[in-house]
Each structure stands twice: as C-alpha cells, then as structure tokens.
C-alpha cells in the first residue's frame, strides 16, 4: 500500500482509559432467554408476526417495519417465543425467546457465491434473512431504505473510540466470511466500496474485489468513525445517500452466503476499569448480559454501557445484548460530591484543556467515572468543539441552527453529513456540559420529518 495517500486526521483526541480487553476470546454459554429489541433500531415501528408459545428457528421472521414491510427482523436463535414484552401504551419492548437446550436450529438459505448472483437476488436474500438491518444509511444514520441505491458504501476497518475492540483481531477470526460479505455488498450496491484502514493496519483477507478502494487514515479518534472517513473520502452532498456497515456485520452477511444460514453470534469486547478480566466474548445477539458479566465485575455502583463511553447507551444489568453492539464498557458511577473539586490541581483528572496538572502526563491511562464535573451552562467557551471535530463543519453554529429549528441553516451547515457519534467528542470536551449528541439527534429527526 503506498503511504502517500494516507489521510491525516489532526483534530481529535484519544481518551486513554484503563481496562483494555485482552486478545482472548471466551465462548459465552447461550443464555436461557434471548431478547430481540425493536428499540435498537432508529425510527422503527415494529409489527410482530409471531405469538407467544410459537416455536421459531434462527432466521425466522419475528417482526417487520410497519413503514417499510420489506425490512424484516429475524430470530438469532431457535426456541419458543415465550413472551412479547410490552411497555406503556402497549409499545413493544422485546420479543423474548426461550432458547433450545440442544443447539440452535437454523433455517436453511441457499449457499451461493454472491459474485454469481444479481443485485436483486442479494437484496431479496438479505431482506428475507433479516440481514438488511445491518446496512445503515446516511443521512440520518438509520437502517438503509431498500428502495434507494447508494452512491457508495463505507466500511471503517478500525475503531478508534476509547477501549474499542480491535477489529483486525475480530476480522481475522473469519476472514472468508468477511471477504464474501464484502463481495455481496459490492454486488448489491453496484457502487464503490470504501474501506478505511488505520495506517499500518494489515488485514490479511482484504479482498481483491473489483470496486473496493482502500484508504489509510492516521490520527486520533474520531479517525475511525465512518462519518469522518466519508467526509474525507467523498462527502455526502444534498440528495445523496451512502451506506455504512460495521465489519462484524459484514461477517454475518458473509456467513449467510457461505454457510446458508443467519448466524448472528458476534464477538464483543468487555472493557472498562470495573471489569475484573477485560477480554473478548463470543455471544449471541440478544443474549442476556448476566451470562457475560456475572462474577466479572468489581463491586457495585457500576454503570454498564453497551458501546463505548462516548456514544454507548446505559443498560441495566439484566439487559440483553443489542443488535449492533460490539463492545461493553463498565464504569464507576461518579455520584460522590467532591470538595472544592474545581479548585484542586487535579493530577488524576482528564481534561483537554491544560487547566489540570494531569496534562503533564500524556500517556497516562485513566479510570474515569460518570461524574459530569460541573453543571450545565449556556455556551461560553468557543473554539473547543473545533479542536475535536475533523470535519469542515462549524459545530456551534450547526447546533445553534438546530436549537433555533432553522431547517435551511441546518442543511447549509451540513447536518446531512453527521450523526450523533461524530459529535461525541464535542460533548466530552464541552465546558458548559451541553448534551451535544442529543441536540444533533433532535436535528436529524427534524430533518427526517421534513423530507
């Protein structure tokens, strides 16, 4: 790979945390119940097709998207549907499956080489096997609309977020499935596939498929965010659609063609300072978290996060693994008031500003807790967000346009290019403790309702 086309990301920040996962994969035993959670999917209104007491195979449809019935969601395991869990206003929270004790029964799909299939066949296959939901689209960062074709497909081959799983390690577990997945996507999209790799990253199995372009990136987080890579490779212009997909989900699509079944187990990095032995686990989508985390955490007062500390979601201890999760992080809740905390020298506090003496120790790893370190205030400081957002976007002005509900300004300032995670570092550094990602999320929803 020639190095001269490496894209250097200068803005950003690597939050170094304690509790990185050891490269060691444990096969977690399948839990008694597996939940499929409609809330994992943005903007989805589910319509359930199964009833309690019904037996299902892995790969059988559980529910569909009411607004787009083509998109189906399948059971990751076989067993008996024990319950459709409902919440307030009968909103569907989960479809609970009592798993088979003697192995998973898979529904059969044809084993075929995707390079010999038409785009339409692949599209149908992904839809009926419940794999379509792995394909995300921008703008909006939701499940791709199967009726629209993208201008390009972007895959980030590395994750630069704090304590993120090593994707090279995960991909090299199933290189063939990854390769087949890429081939299927290339065929399906009929457009270039851009694979973003870290400088020096070596994926043995990089498929020499036609249409796959490899780009190397260098620099701190969020260099690994696919949104940042899109911005630097081929930015989204008004009216355009791009697809993004996570390498682990590419592998699941690859399995569908190589093995002829919807096998949705995935490798999850369990990380964080509160985890006794941070390492990788092979688990089922929807698996009960207790089966992974039990006995593995230091004492109580923990926060369990699906995803990383920047844009993951807090879940209760008895939750089930979400559809897209590749990482679990456990932190201490920082709910202890601190005496004169704003005045102390702060050798153990992490800050991008150099107002705490900790900046003298650059390589230090932190065991951060969830304290906000101050209260929310109006915007005061300027130039902070710009330091961690490697995009040609004026973050504060975009946020203010969203707060003012100025749709036209939002569009002009580039809301189509971003999703929440791209602004996560802005939220981290914010002196005024503003919920930046939440504002972006509101903005995206406004835009979506508008179009």
């Amino acid at each position: 790979m020639p190095d001269d086309n490496t894209i250097r990301i200068r803005k950003g920040f690597d939050i170094l945390l304690e509790g990185e996962a050891d490269k060691n994969i444990i096969n977690a035993p399948l839990s008694k119940t597996v939940d499929v959670l409609p809330s994992n999917f943005k903007y989805l209104t589910p319509k359930v097709l199964v009833e309690a007491g019904e037996g299902v195979e892995a790969g059988q449809v559980l529910f569909i998207d009411k607004n787009n019935p083509e998109i189906q969601f399948c059971a990751p395991v076989s067993g008996i549907v024990s319950e459709v869990v409902r919440g307030e206003k009968r909103r569907i929270l989960a479809i609970r499956i009592l798993t088979d004790k003697n192995g998973i029964q898979y529904r059969d799909f044809p084993k075929q080489n995707p390079t010999n299939l038409t785009a339409e066949t692949i599209r149908q296959r992904l839809l009926e096997a419940g794999c379509w939901a792995y394909i995300q689209q921008r703008p909006f960062g939701c499940i791709a609309d199967p009726s629209l074709s993208p201008k390009a497909i972007f895959i980030s081959g590395f994750d630069s977020a704090p304590l993120a799983p090593d994707l090279t390690f995960i991909i090299t577990q199933e290189p063939d499935n990854f390769k087949t997945g890429i081939e299927a996507l290339a065929r399906l999209g009929g457009c270039p596939i851009h694979l973003g790799l870290k400088k020096g990253q070596n994926l043995m199995s990089i498929p020499h498929t036609e249409g796959v372009e490899i780009h190397h990136f260098e620099g701190p987080h969020p260099a690994g965010n696919v949104g940042i890579q899109i911005h630097h490779i081929d930015p989204i212009r008004s009216g355009e659609i791009v697809w993004t997909i996570h390498p682990q989900d590419v592998i699941i699509i690859g399995r569908l063609f190589n093995e002829g079944r919807y096998r949705a187990d995935r490798i999850v990095a369990v990380t964080g300072a509160q985890v006794r032995k941070p390492q990788y686990y092979k688990v089922q989508t929807g698996q009960h978290l207790g089966s992974i985390l039990d006995d593995d955490l230091f004492i109580e007062n923990n926060r369990i996060i699906e995803g990383n500390v920047l844009h993951g979601q807090q879940v209760p201890e008895n939750a089930h693994l979400s559809f897209y999760t590749n990482q679990i992080t456990v932190l201490t809740e920082g709910d202890e008031p601190e005496f004169l905390g704003w005045l102390l020298p702060g050798f153990k506090k992490l800050s991008l500003s150099r107002t705490f003496f900790s900046w003298l120790a650059k390589k230090r790893k932190y065991a951060l807790d969830t304290n906000t370190h101050g209260e929310e205030r109006p915007f005061v400081m300027t130039g902070q967000y710009e330091k961690v957002l490697p995009m040609n976007i004026l973050p504060v002005f975009l946020l203010k346009a969203i707060l003012a509900k100025d749709i036209e300004k939002m569009e002009q300032l580039g809301i189509y290019e971003v999703v929440e995670e791209d602004f996560a570092l802005c939220e981290f550094v914010c002196t005024s403790k503003i919920d930046v990602q939440n504002i972006i999320s509101e903005g995206l929803e406004m835009m979506r309702n508008e179009s």
Partner: protein, 387 residues
C-alpha cells in the same frame, strides 16, 4: 469535610421545592456547588464520561492569570504614592500600602455585582453563573486607585444589570461587562477617571508632595508630545501611573502565557490584537506629517503596544469568549480591528485618550456581524464543493 457535607445536606431540603426558601434555591446551589462539585452523573444516553473542565475551573484559571497584574498593581499603587511624597520605601511596604487600598475596591466590586446576580437568580429563576467571578476582579483592575468605592459599586451593578442580566445572563451578553462598567464610569464621572486621578495622594505625616510632581498619564502626555513618554523598558515593566492592574505589560504577558497554555484564552485573538495595532501604528508613521515631528502619528508602533491599557485589554478583555467573535477566522479579523481601532482612536481622538476600551466595546458590537460573514462564506464554500 464530612461535617460540612452533612450541614449542607441538612439545610438542602429548605431550599428545594416546597421548602421554606424555595426561591433561593439557585443561590443555595451557587454556594453548595462552590464547596462541592456536585455528584451529578452523565445521562444514560450520549457521553458517559466528561472532561473535568467546567465553567468554575475556567473562571478560576482566568483569576489565577490575573494575579500577576493584581500583585504588581498593588505594589505600584504603593510605589507611586511614596514616590509622589519623595519617600524611600521597601517593595514590601509598597505592596502592603497598595494591598490596603485595592482590597476594598475588590470587595465592593464583588459584593455589589454578586448581589445583583443573586437577586436575578431568584427573580428569573436561573442558576447563578460563574461569569462574575472574573468580572468582579476585572472592574477594580481597570480603574484608578482613587475611584470612590460607591462608584465602583455603581459600575458593578450597572454592568451586571444592563450589560448582562437583561440579556439573560452570562453567555447571552454582547458586550464585555467589565469594560462596560469602566465605560459607564468613564462617561458618567469623567472627572474621576481622567486627569490627576491615577495616584493615591492621601497625605503622609511629615511629608509634602515633591516639587514638579505631575499626575498626568502617558496617554495624555503622548497626545501633546510623545517624545516625553518614559522609555520603552519602564513602560514594559510598568513603573508608571495608571489604573490599578494595567500598567505592567510584563504582568499581562505572564497572564497571557497562563491563558494560552491552559487553553482558556484565545492566542489567536491576542496575537491579532497586537499585530493589528502594530500594523496600524506603522501605517500612521508613514502617513505622519513630516513637518510636525512631535505629532502623535510619529509614535513608534511598539510604544502603542506598551502604553496605557493596551496589553491588559488585549489579554483579558478582547479574549472574553462570549463577546468576541466565535469563529476561528472571525477571531483574527476581530483582533486586528481591535488593535487597529485602538491606535486610530488614540491618535485621532484626543478627547478619549484610552482607545483600547472603546475599540474593544465597538468590536464586541461588530463581532456577531463578523461571524455572520464568516459563516456565510463557509456556507458558500460548502455549496461550491457540492457542485
């Protein structure tokens, strides 16, 4: 420490909803959060960890960066006083004299301004902001030591009320509150802010003013004949008369260093202010009438940077993030215009020798316009790329 916590926790119910002093709860919060950084945690969505920096930390950093100016200012108050009486005193005596003169100014400024903040927190039901922690110290530093205390209180009240709270509090004001206080006093009580006011001339037993003592500041002198100014080095060190905190360029530069290293103050603004003034100073040199060698247009540009409140304004006033331009490019334009404007005002408007204050306030008003132009250009660029 535990004791204090328990005490706070015990009285907290009185201040929360339904309690006796419910209305005062933001006032209570202000005290409680000053003592203890609250144990609030991030919401379950969005980031789970936060940078340790908050507005309190920002403000305390600015205050720390003001300490060199403050200490030097106190020393200089004593130094100038004893010099006027022709007395030989030690540095320590100078400092102590100044300390007792400046301390009441600081106390009055803080108490007057914070009272307004607290009243507004009750009336408008918003949290007490940390902004006044810096404003309260800036006000006395920009005034002559002879300013009557009641006047300082009025300035502090005026700027908090009309400079900030009427717009919604810190973060919503469009003019630098501390400078607004100074401008208010400057125009309302001109006799107290210009002329022979810079020096504390309270009589000393057994001493009389030295012969030929003059209380005129450099800015007045500069307008008549800039050749009579003290040499550059003493302007730099700050052994001259002036408002409490602004005389020493060195102290301001130490402050600037702290602000830039910690990332609290914008180096971009500071440098462009200095650059703007220097360039305009040079330009005026070129244009200066050749037959009037004492004309102020002949002033060497570097003297402008050392004189009056220029350095103090550039470092501590122009960089106020709320009232400065918000975009990176905007900051450079804003800074250049402040520097250039200051020199222009000084040279061409002898009625207001201190151009820095007016120049910054003027640019505060223009900052949103500068930003607007920068943002529009940014949008145009984005559009062009997408074609």
């Amino acid at each position: 420490m535990k004791l204090l916590r328990n005490l706070l926790d015990n009285v907290r119910p009185h201040f929360s909803k339904g309690g006796r002093f419910e209305k005062l709860h933001y006032g209570f919060d202000a005290f409680a959060t000053l003592l203890f950084v609250p144990g609030t945690t991030t919401s379950g969505k969005g980031v789970h960890v936060r940078d340790a920096m908050d507005l309190k930390r920002t403000m305390i950093t600015v205050i720390i960066s003001l300490v060199p100016c403050l200490i030097f200012g106190m020393w200089n108050v004593g130094f100038q006083h004893f010099k006027a009486f022709g007395m030989e005193t030690s540095h320590f005596e100078n400092l102590i004299f100044g300390f007792w003169k400046v301390l009441p100014m600081i106390i009055v400024s803080y108490s007057a301004g914070l009272t307004v903040e607290f009243i507004f927190s009750v009336m408008r039901n918003h949290p007490v902001s940390e902004g006044f922690l810096v404003t309260g110290l800036l006000i006395p530093l920009t005034l002559p030591v002879t300013t009557p205390l009641w006047m300082i209180a009025m300035g502090a009240i005026f700027c908090t009320l009309l400079g900030k709270e009427v717009f919604g509090g810190t973060g919503f004001n469009f003019m630098n509150p501390a400078l607004l206080a100074r401008a208010f006093l400057f125009f309302a009580f001109p006799a107290y802010l210009s002329g022979d006011v810079w020096n504390d001339l309270s009589p000393e037993a057994g001493h009389a003013l030295v012969d030929g003592y003059s209380g005129a500041t450099n800015l007045v002198m500069f307008d008549t004949n800039f050749h009579k100014l003290p040499d550059g080095m003493s302007l730099f060190w700050g052994f001259e008369q002036g408002s409490v905190g602004e005389t020493s360029v060195l102290a301001c530069l130490i402050g600037a260093f702290i602000l830039i290293v910690t990332g609290v103050g914008s180096a971009r603004i500071m440098i462009s202010v200095f650059l703007g003034a220097y360039l305009v100073g040079l330009l005026l040199n070129v244009l200066a009438p050749a037959n009037m060698l004492n004309h102020s247009m002949h002033t060497p540009p570097h003297v402008h940077l050392l004189m009056g409140g220029f350095a103090f304004g550039a470092v501590f006033m122009a960089t106020d993030p709320v009232t400065a331009a918000h975009t990176a490019t905007g900051k450079i334009i804003y800074g250049l215009l402040i520097g250039g404007g200051c020199v222009t005002l000084r040279v061409f408007n002898p009625a207001y020798p201190e151009g820095m204050m007016l120049s910054i306030l003027l640019m505060n008003v223009f900052a949103p316009l500068i930003d607007h132009i920068v943002v529009e250009r940014h949008i145009q660029q984005r559009l062009k790329k997408s074609k």
